[in-house]
């Protein structure tokens, strides 16, 4: 990858922001799906998209995607708490569903899988408009067992749609180890659909970014879809209140030692892009920002029963 300090710093900011979200929201919500250990994937995948690009993010990391696409932090926090200031007005949750006005296609139901099809549709629309924009479809190793996932990849390949498929393979789905959910290597499926596929080290933000750059360029130039499998590890539980009695503590510890944030920090220091103090300051600033936004959201107005408004159901 051509060295570009803006990109390098931007990705660090997104990693740090993601970690701040985990810390702040996770402390308040037992149902928060943390991203600890997977920050490199989120940062590399969602950083630097064009305004017109469309993203159907994986639910784990969906807020990072929304913020990377320009969504307002305060309104996203309000959306975690079901407040009226939220994009969704408290009707729906922002932790899995970002604002469509920022090109995010969220989970509108609880089923994982269908958003991959929505990403294909957005991509087709971009082709029709000839705007060079692309669609991103991100999903977990568990989600990759859904038929939606295969149909969407096959569809994108046949129609040469500008979609970048990213499997955020954190090696587990709730308690199911990836090998119990997938018969073979996920990136190998690309071949069966006739598209390029690659596996990258998901704990190395630069490797993920390099793969993304290549895939995005191909998509923008009309070269069709790509599948990137970013192999990482879910260091946290499935959600905050997960008892996690199904996993080996030693394995978790080993992966905690491979922390992608620490690894990237070392790289940035070594390359002289940012120094430790600057990064610490940024970290602290982001935690403070997220904290302030979350606190403000907590104090925000709650919907009142009269706000059910069935008259809003139809456009």
């Amino acid at each position: 990858m051509r060295r570009d300090n803006d990109v390098l710093e931007g990705m660090y900011r997104l990693m740090s922001l993601t970690r701040a979200l985990d810390r702040v929201v996770g402390a308040h919500d037992g149902h928060w799906h943390g991203l600890e250990g997977e920050e490199a994937v989120a940062a590399a995948v969602y950083y630097g998209l064009r305004e017109g690009d469309t993203v159907a993010p994986h639910y784990r990391g969906a807020i990072t995607a929304a913020l990377a696409k320009g969504a307002d932090l305060g309104r996203m926090m309000a959306g975690c708490l079901g407040k009226t200031d939220a994009y969704h007005l408290g009707r729906h949750r922002s932790d899995v569903c970002g604002p469509p006005e920022h090109g995010i296609i969220g989970l509108y139901g609880g089923s994982l899988g269908p958003p991959l099809g929505y990403a294909c549709g957005a991509a087709l629309s971009h082709v029709m408009d000839g705007d060079g924009d692309i669609a991103l479809a991100v999903f977990g190793d568990g989600t990759s067992s859904r038929g939606d996932c295969h149909e969407a990849m096959n569809m994108a390949a046949i129609k040469a749609l500008p979609v970048v498929f990213v499997c955020q393979n954190n090696q587990i789905a709730i308690s199911t180890p990836a090998p119990d959910g997938n018969g073979g290597p996920i990136f190998e499926r690309a071949r069966g659909f006739g598209m390029p596929g690659a596996r990258v080290d998901g704990n190395d933000v630069l490797k993920v970014r390099a793969a993304m750059d290549e895939a995005i360029a191909r998509a923008r130039e009309g070269g069709g879809p790509t599948l990137i499998e970013a192999r990482t590890y879910r260091v946290a539980g499935h959600f905050v209140s997960d008892a996690e009695d199904y996993r080996d503590a030693a394995e978790i510890a080993a992966w905690r030692d491979r922390d992608p944030v620490a690894r990237y920090r070392a790289f940035l220091i070594e390359e002289g892009v940012m120094d430790a103090a600057a990064m610490d300051a940024l970290d602290a600033k982001l935690v403070a920002e997220v904290d302030a936004a979350f606190t403000a959201a907590q104090d925000g107005a709650v919907p009142d029963p009269g706000d059910l408004m069935p008259e809003d159901v139809f456009a």
């Binding site: 469509p100 509108y108 958003p115 099809g117 549709g121 957005a122 629309s125 669609a135 069935p310 139809f314």
Partner: protein, 324 residues
């Protein structure tokens, strides 16, 4: 111009494609093949592969693709082939129906899903599952009964900013031509029409059942029973005002369904009448629907399965004569 139901549907799509470059059609075998039962005949020749898009057999993703394109401002019209394939796209419909509301109004999903269904000459894929969508907020269901209505309703459906299930009955599809005026939609989705006026009994129907109800009404007319036929046209949201007004006029109501009664869309109509027009009712709310079995294959069983003119007339007659 005289057209069949099928030609009227295609003409409406053609006119909307002409009027709005964002309208495109997609589905299996809709290109050169023209669509099953000629459901898209001529569109490929006229608009080409970019706006008449052949699809692989991936129903969920087809529907998903339509939703994704609609979110970007396009107006996809997806020919799903047959109504029974609704079972394969329910999640996409749930999501699509919720998007506008959940997003606080930011998202719009102008997407028409076409399905052929019903017992008819095609002798297959008759299943009618539209009633499932009655439980899905944000989705509209259209079920026209004549070529003109098919034309008008399809144009309204394409212009609607919500996901619309558009029902095309295979027994009406190629069943004769009627005069069709190619006009801008005179009505949005929603309003029912009084297909026939009558003072003695109300028959609520749609699609093929409307046609049969009108025939039954002629039989009854000869016996001195005046049946009023309300053609719903739009099954969701259905026209409560028109139905209740008719029940207030007649005091007696028969509801027709091609789906088995236990989960039929007309049950909401029945329940609403029993709730809101109770005072006006002079007789039980009657339903006529197939028995609770999977759609049968043998022609003899098909005939016994579906409400026909004779059974509709009999049910309406019994209702007109009913005394406590």
């Amino acid at each position: 111009m005289r057209m069949t139901f099928q030609q009227a549907v295609v003409a409406a799509i053609e006119d909307e494609m002409e009027a709005d470059a964002g309208v495109f059609v997609m589905g299996q075998d809709i290109g050169r093949f023209g669509g099953p039962l000629r459901s898209n005949a001529g569109l490929f020749e006229r608009f080409g592969a970019e706006r008449v898009i052949d699809m692989p057999m991936s129903e969920g993703t087809m529907a998903g693709l339509a939703v994704g394109a609609a979110l970007q401002g396009k107006r996809p019209v997806l020919d799903l082939m047959f109504g029974e394939f609704l079972a394969l796209v329910m999640q996409q419909f749930l999501d699509a129906g919720a998007m506008h509301y959940y997003s606080g109004g930011a998202a719009r999903v102008p997407f028409v899903l076409r399905v052929k269904y019903g017992i008819g000459p095609f002798h297959g894929h008759a299943y009618d599952h539209h009633s499932w969508l009655m439980g899905v907020p944000g989705v509209k269901i259209a079920a026209p009964s004549t070529p003109q209505d098919a034309y008008d309703t399809m144009r309204a459906a394409v212009r609607d900013d919500n996901p619309v299930l558009f029902l095309e009955h295979m027994a009406l599809y190629h069943a004769g031509r009627a005069e069709v005026e190619r006009r801008a939609p005179p009505l949005p989705l929603g309003p029912a029409v009084r297909a026939r006026e009558g003072a003695d009994v109300t028959v609520v129907a749609s699609a093929l059942m409307t046609k049969r109800a009108l025939k039954a009404a002629e039989t009854l007319d000869a016996e001195g029973i005046e049946a009023e036929v309300i053609d719903l046209r739009t099954i969701a949201p259905w026209d409560e005002e028109a139905v209740l007004a008719s029940v207030h006029r007649t005091g007696r109501v028969l509801l027709l369904s091609e789906a088995i009664s236990t989960g039929a869309s007309i049950n909401d109509v029945a329940a609403t009448i029993a709730e809101k027009a109770f005072d006006a009712l002079e007789a039980p709310v009657a339903r006529l629907a197939p028995p609770p079995i999977p759609t049968p294959f043998a022609r003899e069983l098909e005939r016994a399965y579906l409400p026909d003119e004779t059974r509709i007339a009999a049910a309406a007659r019994a209702l007109a004569r009913w005394t406590a």
